[in-house]
Symmetry: C2
Subunit: 365 residues, 2 copies
């Protein structure tokens, strides 16, 4: 239920600005955020997709008991999905703290999360436990270490299904072995604009990476944001998988940097025009879809990195990526909104924010 | 040749703001401009398309002689096309003072024109004489009277080809009889936006009107500007043709007014969004095609009529329709420009102008 001032209780306890939003990590001009997640399951218990509600609830309550006793888990919140409103649940999805699948059926689903918005454990998503850490820029090794620490605490208390032959067992065979999925969200407007994106995506696929859009599996890339992740989970150590992805992401970021420099040299006016139009739209439009907003924010992100806009830092841009989402819009207004109304509210939020932004005199005049 | 300050001599002698641009005529909120032209030919002389250069020159010089002797024609300039640069000639086309066909082959072509940009006589276009008058808003009767006065002066001096059976003879049979073509340029964004445009255009065609785009025959409608003109020239008096077109245009303007009111009632936000985006583009973009500029000016014209923008009057909007054209851009810079460069110069001109314009607080916030 919303409180008197209209905020939803859970969300008011989580930092509005997650750690990853600050944009302070390495390569954060190009790599927005990186994530590691470990899939783990209880030994001797069928996987969530095959559990009845009673079993799911029992599993979640075992986790709740561990949470309440563990000193290591004390800084975390334990949240039963059934205690949240639907709007709150989808707002968590928009903040990458859990998945759409996880919140769709709240019975027996739970979430362990920290206030900073960096760490969470989804309970009874596809696997019993999905431990994940989200950081600014490219710091996959750090994210992995944090997940591994959390995993150790849970494993020592609960025991995870493990086979000598296969490694950690998971509901879907694509996760078996390490249960590790590492990913990075990379902003590639330069490669897109210079027509080199396909070449880079193909090379990434050949190097064993999966490439997805902003909202994960099965989604298109909007705002030139692409998610790169490891395809295989088996036959390599966690450390190797993380190091390989990290190395590929560094190469992609370098290619993006080259493309931006080339375009800036060759057609400064093209970039100026895109940045100026994106600014104009966000500052004046009365109705904006989330897709258009993302495309505009993409140009302004690039523009802001080379000082074409004043009053616009990475943190603001990262926050806006979240705040323009349909789910967050609805939470802010604590009710379901038709798409047209969301577009109007989004435009209003953006106009207000962009009144404080100015195009710099570096733009062609 | 351009003078020291870069202006071209002929254009510096014509008022920068033509009478029709002032936007003071009846219904000028919807009817930008109206025009009447009379096609006339010398008796006993083949039509221009079949004349050799020598004959064309001889005809133009006969007209020059009449111009130099006539007190009625004293306020007019007589201009030989060969004395103008190519850029000057195309700038005259952009100002509706002559046609593309008329300036393409300058030998033996001439123009009589007044400084106000309202009246001109094309010599050796398709016909020997095309007398035309251009006025603000819907004042076809006035335009016709002015043309008829000029025609009388020329006819008494030169004698025109006339048949008792057919009336005035013309190079193309579609003009024979009265030789009169009357037209009005009408701004129909309301009908376009409410989906009622086709219905109105079909009704106009059924009422015997021809419908064209902004640049006349064979052109598409940009910026919701449509030109309506009489189809037949034969079997009716000049006065009847003018009165019928005038009456149809009044009906079309009334339909447009209804459509605007309906849309403004039903979706004020849609209109606000379009007006705000058009303003944002013109104020900030670094490269704008003439087509996009026209579309933006169209929304702002509608917006300005209902006080959604401050600092933007009809005259400015009318002038901009002319000033954004490729030909005028080139004249301003006294050289041929590639399209990309024109788009940049056009954007620069528009940005400068729109710095002085503001969206009003009547827009939804």
């Amino acid at each position: 239920m919303p409180s008197a001032d209209g905020t939803l209780p859970l969300l008011s306890r989580i930092d509005r600005t997650a750690e990853w939003m600050r944009g302070t990590g390495p390569l954060a001009d190009i790599v927005l955020t990186c994530r590691v997640r470990l899939a783990r399951n209880l030994a001797g218990c069928c996987f969530p997709p095959r559990c009845d509600d009673e079993t799911l609830i029992a599993i979640a309550e075992r986790a709740a008991a561990v949470h309440s006793c563990s000193r290591a888990l004390a800084p975390f919140e334990f949240v039963r999905m059934q205690e949240l409103t639907e709007l709150e649940r989808y707002a968590l999805v928009d903040r990458y703290l859990c998945s759409r699948e996880h919140v769709a059926q709240p019975v027996g689903r739970a979430l362990v999360l920290d206030r900073s918005g960096s760490l969470s454990v989804m309970i009874n998503e596809e696997d019993h436990f999905r431990i994940q850490a989200l950081y600014s820029g490219l710091q996959l090794e750090t994210a992995y270490r944090v997940c591994a620490g959390l995993e150790e605490v849970l494993e020592s208390a609960l025991g995870f299904a493990f086979s000598e032959k296969w490694g950690y067992l998971t509901a879907c065979p694509t996760n078996v072995g390490t249960g590790l999925r590492a990913s990075a969200m990379i902003h590639l407007p330069g490669l897109t604009e210079t027509g080199r994106l396909d070449e880079v995506l193909t090379a990434a696929a050949n190097a064993g990476l999966a490439v997805r859009g902003l909202y994960g599996e099965g989604t298109e890339a909007h705002g030139s944001l692409h998610q790169f992740s490891n395809q295989v989970t088996l036959g390599r150590s966690e450390e190797e998988l993380v190091a390989e992805l990290s190395s590929s992401c560094k190469q992609i970021a370098a290619a993006e940097r080259d493309a931006r420099a080339a375009l800036h040299r060759k057609s400064p006016l093209l970039l100026d025009d895109h940045v100026a139009r994106a600014y104009a739209t966000l500052r004046y439009a009365r109705s904006v879809t989330s897709r258009e907003a993302l495309d505009c924010l993409s140009w302004l992100r690039w523009g802001a990195e080379i000082d074409l806009a004043r009053g616009l830092d990475r943190q603001t841009l990262n926050e806006l990526i979240i705040w323009i989402r349909p789910g967050v819009q609805q939470v802010l207004h604590t009710r379901r909104l038709p798409a047209e109304e969301r577009d109007v509210l989004r435009a209003s939020l953006l106009r207000k924010r962009f009144e404080q932004v100015e195009l710099s005199e570096k733009l062609s005049s």
